[in-house]
Amino acid sequence: MTTTERATVSPPQRTTPASHTPRRRRADLGFLGTVLKYASLVAACVAALMPIVTIFMLAFKTNEEYRTTGPLDAPSSWLNFDNFVTAFTQGGMVTGFLNTGFILVVSITGTIFTGTMTAYAIDRFRFRGRPLVTGLFLLATLVPAVTTQVATFQIINGMGLFNTPWAAIVLFTGTDIVAIFIFLQFMASIPISLDEAAMLDGANRFTVYWRIILPLLKPAVATVVIIKGIAVYNEFYIPFLYMPSRDLGVISTSLFRFMGPFGSRWEVIAAGAILVMIPTLVAFLFLQRFIYNGLTSGATK
């Protein structure tokens, strides 16, 4: 701590050697600032982790313990996995993970294809109607998705997709404009001379897209897979609205349904919530850098 503090305040000291009092005041201020800085960072961590840690401890408690001990007390045994077993088997978590997995794979694949095709058409062609198409995609970002479900519901229902996983899949695939912007940004950095060279060799536009653009877009695809994956994994309202059947529960809706049957068994609910958060934690630990970069490039669309 002291070294960092000295590093930041020493240059001003060097430049103002004449006056002694301001120097000391500034050094004091620097020390106080460092203390405040780390105190606030630790406070932020406590605030961020406290809710998670308490339900983590709760997940290992027996029902008896839940009723007799406080939320801040550690469980008597850290090896009591009963609640996890209950949550997993009776809470429909297996179905939830399977359904989420299926929807995740199909809709991410769909997003990659629709997104790259759109970006390819917009970035590599000049055609009448191009500004209109770009404008349509831009304008769509402004429409708050939850509220249009009022009318989208009628369309999904009319297509006979209500209460099938395809309702979620088409909605996740069809409306991802952020992915398009990520592909657009990245495609602009792929030199057009590559396209032109391939076309001189006789490749047509589809070959260029499939053989040159798509492989070169791999890093952008990775970004989209990550941020789309997180979004689909966490989505609650679309599955809740369109897939009410119990067999079609995704992890969000399965967990949401815990509130009914397990209403008085908070230790099981806690175990369910922890089970849902574990894949997120693992993904975060391994993909941190990609997640940060993906969000930064996605949000600045």
Partner: protein, 314 residues
């Protein structure tokens, strides 16, 4: 990650300066139909699931449709009149104020922590990860977690008891407090995203600028004011608009945690309940349009104050 966002973005900002833009236009002149083949499926999705619903919403909003009947009775502007005149519909706008205040606090906190971590800090990645992590979590898991956090005798009450504060209020049961608790939960959930975006923008400033400032004897505040703040002006503008429209369309946390009970109904909860619980699609569509118009207005205002935002995709 090799996405090289800054370089790519700069490229996209000024496509006309790209040397090959002109010859390419000539070359593709004979390929009139090709771009449309690529756009066929994406546009079909976009139109079917975004524009048709929005158009339908305008149509439904002047009817009394219940979502099932074959006939839709035309009622003119009645739905809009009831939204703005009947207090039970109008009151929910007040709930948005809690989320707006929350959004303000969220931006300030995010900016504060991003600035702190942009200076030399020990365990920087650890702090960054912990502050950001909540953003990645599943909304339902967060909702359940905070139901336990706020329940009587739950985590919050126990923590307060350690500091000697007895008789805490009902955090989610008291109508005068419930919205504060829910807005705080939203801040907990979303602050990490703003924080990471700010930090990314601040760190894209070349370190020479800080070194030069150090040599000139700049204080931390001066560095913040004259180096950091200008560098994040754009992302700040974007985040503000997202925060405001997010506050107006607050939905998931209150819906999962209280279902809108105890006066925690937000405008969007009201809208979806009107449509799907009370089967009044006409009125719900009118409400959705009101929200859409407000969001568009805010965006227009933001574009006015933070221009050149949109140069990115030409």
């Amino acid at each position: 990650m090799s996405i090289a966002p800054s370089a790519a973005r700069q490229d996209a900002e000024r496509p006309s300066t790209r040397p090959s833009a002109r010859p390419r236009r000539r070359k593709t002149a004979g390929w009139g139909a090709t771009p449309w083949l690529f756009l066929l499926i994406p546009l079909a999705f976009l139109v079917t699931f975004t524009y048709v619903p929005v158009a339908n919403m305008f149509w439904y909003s002047v009817t009394d449709w219940d979502g099932l009947a074959l006939e839709k009775g035309f009622v003119g502007a009645d739905n809009f009149v009831s939204i703005f005149t009947r207090p039970e519909y109008f009151r929910v706008f007040a709930v948005s104020l809690y989320y707006l205040v929350g959004a303000g606090a969220q931006l300030i906190l995010a900016l504060y922590f991003a600035t702190l971590l942009s200076f030399n800090t020990r365990f920087k990645n650890f702090f960054k990860g912990v502050i950001f992590f909540p953003y990645l979590l599943n909304g339902v898991a967060i909702g359940l977690m905070f139901l336990y956090f706020f329940r009587p005798g739950g985590t919050l009450d126990s923590t307060l008891a350690i500091f000697g504060l007895q008789d805490p209020p009902l955090w989610l049961g008291d109508p005068s407090i419930v919205n504060i608790s829910l807005a705080a939960t939203s801040v907990w959930r979303y602050m990490g995203l703003n924080f990471v975006l700010f930090l990314g923008a601040i760190q894209s400033v070349p370190s020479e600028q800080y070194e030069a400032a150090d040599l000139d004897g700049a204080s931390s505040w001066q560095k913040f004011r004259f180096i950091i703040l200008p560098s994040i002006r754009r992302i700040l503008g974007l985040t503000m608009i997202l925060a405001v429209s997010g506050a107006l369309s607050a939905f998931e946390m209150p819906y999962i945690m209280t279902g809108g009970a105890n006066g925690s109904t937000t405008f969007v909860i009201q809208t979806v309940d009107t449509a799907f619980r009370f089967a009044n699609v006409g009125l719900a569509s009118a409400m959705a349009i009101v929200l859409l118009v407000i969001v568009l207005l805010i965006t227009a205002v933001q574009r006015k104050f933070f221009p050149d935002e949109k140069a990115t995709v030409e």
